[in-house]
Symmetry: C2
Subunit: 207 residues, 2 copies
């Protein structure tokens, strides 16, 4: 048993797999899916072609794992969990935006939202990768919709209306991140946060 455990540690297939995912997620974020070849992943991980392909037979298998095991958790941690556990939705949205703005101002660069980036590059041209990307947006939207107040100006809202309001919130964030990335500045995110918080309050969607 001891020998097997030691060999396992030495071989450490889970560790290698995780290292591949980390490296690929970073490459996708910096330069995108199409600009990242399997050869480049081999270079930055120091793995042979055989070792890399042992874990991921194709680039799309690797991309799928990056989406599910790296991109989805980032969106959950940044947006979905704070919204799920929020006291006030308006305040939480403000806090999420502030955290993102703070990160950008520390790094002095805007690489963009990893979900947005891959979704924009792949949604039209790669239906198989579109599906798991869409699922992340869906989880985000459903969580937001569940936290949006049940009335709009005193009038009860049905689920479709709450989903629509949630879609609007995600659109504002997603688009502001587009502008921030293009301007390489956090200003569009600041503008979006301010107007979005006002909107949530004025619409009665958040206390």
């Amino acid at each position: 048993m001891k020998v097997t455990a030691a060999r396992k540690r030495k071989n450490d297939p889970e560790g290698v797999r995780s290292r591949i995912l980390d490296a690929t997620a970073r490459l996708f974020q910096a330069q995108g899916y199409h600009a990242t070849g399997m050869r480049r992943v081999m270079q930055v991980t120091g793995l042979s072609s055989g070792a890399l392909h042992h874990h991921f037979a194709t680039k799309d298998a690797l991309a799928l794992a990056v989406i599910k095991e790296r991109v989805a958790p980032v969106v959950r941690e940044t947006w979905v969990d704070p919204v799920r556990t929020a006291g006030s939705l308006g305040t939480t949205v403000q806090v999420v935006f502030s955290e993102i703005v703070r990160g950008i101002e520390q790094r002095k660069a805007v690489a963009g939202c990893p979900l947005n980036n891959l979704a924009m590059e792949l949604s039209f041209s790669n239906p198989q990768l579109r599906e798991p990307l869409r699922a992340i947006f869906q989880e985000w939207q459903t969580t937001l919709a569940a936290r949006i107040g049940a009335t709009h100006g005193g009038v009860p809202m049905d689920r479709a209306q709450r989903m629509e309001a949630a879609s609007f919130v995600i659109s504002v964030y997603s688009g502001a991140m587009n502008l921030a990335k293009t301007a390489q500045s956090a200003l569009p995110l600041r503008a979006a946060a301010r107007h979005l918080k006002e909107w949530l309050l004025e619409q009665g969607f958040s206390p």
Copy 2:
């Protein structure tokens, strides 16, 4: 003179250049910048490497021309000119969204906004192409800001506040297009249009 004119027509360098730009703009829109090689442009235009490189020495020279001569005019025609000549900003925004939704529903596919697509793929990794993309957003934002009402709830707004409101409008559109592309559905654009029109009216930004 006659012979020269005839030879010019036969050679038609402007026609060839225009054909290259059309083909490349279509390829960028369908599959993106990185997935489109010069070889593919040669295939779809039927040009030799020499003929293609006579017009565009590098892929980035070609991309720059596509941005300035194909992407910018589309944004001007779709967004900037209607906003510039708008009676009511709220109504015009609604009409622009409706036109885009109609196009999507006719094609039954969402390839996305050509400006958004290239900006997302290139803004972080290619500063030289980021600049002309940023300039298109800037023109769009400036035009919107000039049409946004001068007061907000009766309080006069300065230029920075109008630019911020314009940034919010573009964010909503741009993000809704992201969601529409990922969902391959016009629904997020419909949701965005409805809430955005309400917002413009409620904020007093549009009659």
